[in-house]
Symmetry: C2
Subunit: 488 residues, 2 copies
Amino acid sequence: MDAAEFRKSGKQMVDYIADYLEKIDKRQVFPDVEPGYLRPLIPDCAPQDPESFDDVFKDIEKIIMPGVTHWHSPYFFAYFPAASSFPALLADMLCGGIGCVGFSWAASPACTELETVMMDWLGKMINLPEEFLAGKDGQGGGVIQGSASEATLISLLAARTKTIRLVQSEKPELTEADIMGRLVAYASDQAHSSVERAALIAGVKIKNVSSDDKFSVRGSALKKVLDEDKASGLIPFFFCATLGTTPSCSFDKLLELGPICNKENIWMHIDAAYAGSAFICPEFRHLLNGVEFADSFNFNPHKWLLVNFDCSAMWVKKRSDLIGAFKLEPLYLQHHHHESGLVTDYRHWQIPLGRRFRSLKLWFVLRMYGVRGLQEHIRKHIRLSHQFEDLVLQDERFEICAEVVLGLVCFRLKGSNELNKELLKSINEAKKIHLVPCHLREKFVLRFAICSRVVESTHVEFAWQHISQLATDLLKAWEQNHHQQHQQ
Amino acid sequence: MDAAEFRKSGKQMVDYIADYLEKIDKRQVFPDVEPGYLRPLIPDCAPQDPESFDDVFKDIEKIIMPGVTHWHSPYFFAYFPAASSFPALLADMLCGGIGCVGFSWAASPACTELETVMMDWLGKMINLPEEFLAGKDGQGGGVIQGSASEATLISLLAARTKTIRLVQSEKPELTEADIMGRLVAYASDQAHSSVERAALIAGVKIKNVSSDDKFSVRGSALKKVLDEDKASGLIPFFFCATLGTTPSCSFDKLLELGPICNKENIWMHIDAAYAGSAFICPEFRHLLNGVEFADSFNFNPHKWLLVNFDCSAMWVKKRSDLIGAFKLEPLYLQHHHHESGLVTDYRHWQIPLGRRFRSLKLWFVLRMYGVRGLQEHIRKHIRLSHQFEDLVLQDERFEICAEVVLGLVCFRLKGSNELNKELLKSINEAKKIHLVPCHLREKFVLRFAICSRVVESTHVEFAWQHISQLATDLLKAWEQNHHQQHQQ
């Protein structure tokens, strides 16, 4: 395929994507396929000779689409949103076209520099303390990671290195293995599984800190476990606070936790993967209060800020902590400006070496929506979640299971977990909308997350009517069953 | 921006990318900018109100392009190739348009299943042993990682978990920390820095194994260090063999190393990041002989197989080893088909949770080039590297520093490292072509890597004439200096 053919097929693809997104509400949100559906539909091995674009293009509807879960459907209320917008798609096309690999400043200066400046823009939008910004000669700065998991891992690794060095300077008789065996990381019992995974990767212990009845970690709960662990000779070194937990969008109490971490020399990382985007609205910024105590902070514009996956925004107060954890400098990666101090080599800030020109997506989205456009998007979602909450509250058969702060509603039928599992099953088998569950303590709970860029009040209304009807049917069948069992 | 505007601006972007790539040889391969060039060119913060696509579009040439290193220019001979092709760009557009996040089977069945099947296609293209393929009920299988660094890290972590469990089952008195402190990973002294980094992340020791005079690790070298380490109570657990090292594209001797690793119960991972693509040509497949001894194997189609970054292909013989290293199952990620055995949840195979629909790129590229088209691409590059090698060999002032096997030529002026540093400096300051150096033992060496999809014999010829002329100028100046110093 040459440039001329690409002009033609590229435009065909642009129209296909526009059609797909424009009419996505007409597609069934969750696919009908069973595991293993795809293999029989395509050959066993790659063709020896080239096929035409038309052949491949036809197979998109035939082979791919029947197996796609449509994350951007206005009937998709599962997980958390995956961001998607036209400006981000345009930027990603450009990113692919340029196709540079920006692991160092010299490997493509624009790729590095736009990222530094965009992370400053974004940091200012959520009013991050100045220490987190790169500015002209700041010690902090931002970086685009692929995912919140990587941001958590990188910050935990930086904390591990920093602590090992500190302990060794105080107690030179201890080996690295001795210290590693005593390090403990902490996170809420509501924290995302990626935090536990980061500790597993780093080879250190991790402990859950109990959350309170609003699913928030309080200072007292952290202090209790720290005191116990220190008394038994362990070395607490890392706490991951969550703003907007995955199960219920609860918020750890930064203003209580931050001072404890600072006093105890514990690295505080804040994972605000979903909730972070809301902080661009002044009325939600208070949820971030206490970030001034943190060492690192992360949220995912690729969740809720209309920047397509992947774009996870991470900031640190001291870039030297990240870089110091890893810096390795083979000759083929050194360059002339290497020691200048004005240059950022982002490969020292992340797990992989290679990196795409992802800041283009931020640049396009922030400019083509403007701060106000993005605030509107966030506010619409939060308005819709409260609409759903109100509908649930008006129905006595149901209960709300956690405070609705942003775009997530946790709800259930009053009654057993079995009943609620049945309800979710009937919802997802009907495939008119798509939800996933969570556990809150012992309760099996349904999560209703406002996800799509194009979801409107009517879709929420439809979803509720549908759920409500399925509940009626279910309760009737349930009662009949119960009645029959009683008679037997 | 709505779908209608996207149709318009998307097509404009397609033309821009086609223009960019069609005329990339007219652009200076390496930019003129100094560090910090970009910040003064754009505002301090994001705009409050939306800007138009036209405003943003104009800034691409004004702000971005002056700072881009043009990786796809036929005058780019640095690092290793970054793949780029029109079919891959089309597939990436579609990937963005669908915008699903495929962390589990249910999150988008097509995303998971196409990946499994494409990895089988690709595995068959390089004639991987059947054990590495997923097939219908295989224990192995392939996964697309973001980078070779991640593949190395994941395999090292799987090996770490496996070894800790094994040692603990034999010696229950040992704690995990005790064992961690005694684990040792190994790689060639020529291995990529990401291997050392993986060990740093995992918190285990890593040792270099000395390579021979052809920069290859031999069985005897590995055996020597293993024997020493075992005698001193350490636990060897992981060896990363490299096929196609970054400095000189040398090959570790798999047929000697594999049996040792198998006998000693050491996980052998093969990193063939660059070289792997060449194994689709039967005449180069012998370089992969010995892969049958490996536990995991990785190469980067995003380097040399015309699939745009990121697409790093990794296979394992036992998927349970990868999954067992991490598996964590919160409720919101469980799904109906969870336990069926037919379902792959790729999030257990990788560091991040989220993942894009990257297998579309493989599907488009393999079909639209066909195996023969991709073989032609590889063979052209290798022909061109030998062309350059011949030119160097015809000039008595120069020497070839390592066997030219694939698309990389390591060469230098006979003489001091200082002289060669000066030569590289004059090449890169002239900015007609772009190269990076390496060290081979004590020698400072220039790396000439065939990179661009559109590089032809004339570009190689030009590059050599240019280097040769710069060498003439440099040697003259050098001699004059020497003469003057002699006279003083």
